[in-house]
Symmetry: C2
Subunit: 192 residues, 2 copies
DNA sequence: GCAATCCGTTCACTTTAGTTAAGAAATACT
DNA sequence: AGTATTTCTTAACTAAAGTGAACGGATTGC
């Protein structure tokens, strides 16, 4: 399981054995059962997550309704906005599946960053990459219709459509579950 | 004009005179006339922008139509995705107004980062903040209707509604110009 | 194993956005 | 200033998403 992490990191920098051991000694690998809530609305937190296995989702509760806005799967990282802003969280994070996560907290990160300056460099590069990716995704969302968004998802992340309940996918696409059902029926009809 | 930059940076770290001079010696302040195109689709680029005065916008040309996806105004920064991915740009960047911009390129940044490690730390913090902010904005977009998005914009960035042409605002809100006109008329009617 | 709940789909109906077109208003051009 | 172009608004019509309700099918919890 550690290898998954180090293989991923090796795309960015090559770590020495010392550095790898320093990371491992932090004891940051954790397992969570499906359904576990990692963060609740209103809570403060310093924890960031990196998914080694499984899937976590972020959702808001607006007028009593869950609005799912993101899924994070294998090799994806999430630092909740509340960790950055130091305010209570606006949303929930829960485990969609049984997960193995890497959990870090911001104090720990600050310490590692000062001990291993190259780690700071890695973090900067990673977050710049994530920001660029997030902006592209946002742009694609703005410039396309719900149907195009669904077709796009089918292309880019077919796994999500399999592993995620429809009603959560719907709000992820910015629509209601009924609309997603209808939209899918429409697509099937066009094909035939 | 430099003071604008240093005042902004002072919120994150306090720079020494040496560091300030190092930044100034890079000669990164530039003026651009309204309408100037900073980046075209298909071009490669290493340039990042920080707006000191004015407004720049990013837009795609899809089926011959301009789709505006973002505006950057005073004290906002933009590193185009193509700078990160090192691929040709998918979009255009143009000056919506006469601008004074801080223009850096990634080679220059790498050099400054290695000379002044604290600068790397600053960059990491800034891009982590921007990522958190971008995700919140994306979430808000997904979970609200065009009308709510417009009302939200009216609250959060009233200046944009003044300085940006309607048809560009429309695609920024993910709708057609005609729909924005109609939606505004609808809101006015409700008020009365 | 049965009841209760949740989930996905369908339907009828309402509301809103997309489309096409036209005209008025603002802007840019020479 | 006068013309041309672009931008904004309005309108009529079409297409798609929201809403409320109903139905089976799956899942969960005693």
């Amino acid at each position: 399981m550690q290898d998954l992490l180090f293989d991923f990191l090796s795309k960015y920098i090559s770590l020495t054995e010392d550095e790898k051991n320093a990371i491992l000694s932090l004891d940051i690998f954790h397992s969570y059962k499906k359904g576990t809530i990692l963060l609740k609305e209103g809570q403060k937190s310093k924890e960031s997550y990196f998914v080694l296995k499984g899937c976590i989702r972020t959702y808001y509760v607006i007028d009593g309704e869950e609005k799912t806005t993101a899924f994070y799967t294998e090799m994806e990282a999430l630092t909740p906005p509340c960790v950055i802003s130091k305010n209570p969280s606006e949303y929930y994070i829960s485990c969609l599946e049984d997960n193995i996560l890497l959990v870090s907290n911001s104090d720990m990160e600050a310490e590692v960053n000062s001990k291993f300056p190259r780690f700071e460099n890695l973090c900067r590069i990673l977050s710049e990459e994530l920001l660029a990716k997030e902006r592209i995704d946002f742009d694609a969302f703005k410039t396309s219709s719900p149907e195009q968004r669904y077709l796009n998802l089918l292309q880019k992340r077919p796994d999500l459509i399999q592993r995620v309940p429809q009603h959560q996918l719907a709000s992820y696409l910015g629509i209601k579950p009924q609309s997603l059902s209808r939209l899918r029926a429409r697509i099937l009809e066009k094909k035939s």
